[in-house]
Symmetry: D2
Subunit: 151 residues, 4 copies
């Protein structure tokens, strides 16, 4: 599982970015984005990167990533209608699994309001059995590590 | 209630625009955006306009719009990770109620994939009783009508 | 499209029932169930009936129902943690389409808090082309009509 | 943060139970309940217990629990239209915070399909500042610990 962060991370950790628009419904009765909703942001960014890089076709890929654990820390509330800059990095890349981390930053702020992620185990879609991460997927994941290292 | 449209509307009808980012979770088991999710887009655009125009403070406004009916027509499937241009217009403006219409266009397309909306009745938040639309709210709603008429 | 109801319907109209548990997240910032969420209740009840009657396998059926329009009227707020009795009836059964109506009743109340529904057009999953409603599906839908007529 | 479990827990760990009905929309494009949705089950059960025990009024309570971290492990897929027995226990009770654990069991099964939870920090709603857990809330939380110890 991921290590817990002592404080809200900064933007320089993250290699790939997407803008997430919040929705009216994201705010719960306490007037801020409900904790479950952050996980919708997280898997949109992760899968979005994979689709964009053309190593995931959600409708047809035979090998897909299945979430076996997820986690999130909340440092500050977010509130619709804020726009969120979501940054992606790889925390750990194994043989058949990968641990992603996503930092969620309100536009214009340097510190993440929340940071979370999950572990994907890659499986064969037809029988749900783990497989080694395919080479082309691994190359795309390593790009995220590389871009982080360069900094 | 709104009239039913015979065919997918075009972009020129709409006066105010927002970009909505779709989410992984929006796609259901059939691989396209689930019908219920379009209503999340619709009220995000409508309330977003009101917040942006500073006539709605979701945390504090004493007079708020309550949805009494909603409806949507689906002409074409949308699929995450598409970005949606959402256009807003006013279909009917009454004394204490307003009927909005939102056209949802995949970026780069001229015809709406879906068109829907709802009727807001304005009420006093504390007792839920209908009130006439406040003057400053009405002015903001009329701007949408004006911009449409100009075309 | 469905006719608009002048007042909240009663329970005797509906032939098939399911209990829907509300969720914390269903309540929005105004403290009641968000309008979009009712559509999640509606398609859970409709598809649930079809799965239960064994005429729909969401993972494999070649012929599936696609939503072409949906609509809902709201008579009274619902609030988590209420349990909702959701009743289903058929409003109109055509050659390749069906219009469903779902009444949503807080447990213990005689009048629906909301009533809505949608139109399913049956299509071939592989090419998205409309097909006549298969005989076994039609038989299951007619059961709902019959049970209503008996009353 | 919570300890990671080596295997799926059994039902005897949990003290309070609720039945959660899944929804059509809970299934994502891979045909099983999306990872983010489990967190909607989790906070419905936790807050539901508090409301039922009359120590939380979501619309009015001055002292409320704010989620500062959440986490979940997934042992087995769930699929709509399954009903889920959700069990609640207290993992750790501090001065102003509590760590809950929720086990989610498909009806009829002995092993949890998923287990997750979150940490609530109790705050004053008006200024968001942490406060000691009020005595009546603590008593309600301790009931969960007691019932577990008895077994």
């Amino acid at each position: 599982m991921a290590n817990r962060r002592a404080s809200a991370p900064t933007r320089d950790l993250y290699a790939y970015w997407q803008v997430v628009s919040t929705r009216w419904r994201d705010n719960d009765i306490y007037g801020h984005v409900n904790n479950a909703v952050y996980y919708s942001y997280i898997d949109s960014v992760i899968n979005g990167y994979m689709v964009e890089q053309e190593v995931l076709d959600p409708w047809g890929s035979e090998i897909i990533g299945i979430v076996v654990e997820s986690h999130c820390q909340f440092f500050q509330s977010l509130r619709y209608p804020v726009l969120i800059d979501s940054g992606l990095r790889i925390e750990k890349l194994g043989t058949s699994s990968v641990l992603y981390e996503v930092g969620m930053f309100p536009q214009g702020e340097d510190r993440a309001a929340a940071v979370g992620g999950f572990t994907h185990v890659f499986v064969n879609r037809s029988n749900n059995r783990p497989v080694p991460i395919p080479g082309e997927v691994r190359a795309v994941l390593e790009k995220l590590q590389a871009s982080r290292t360069e900094r």
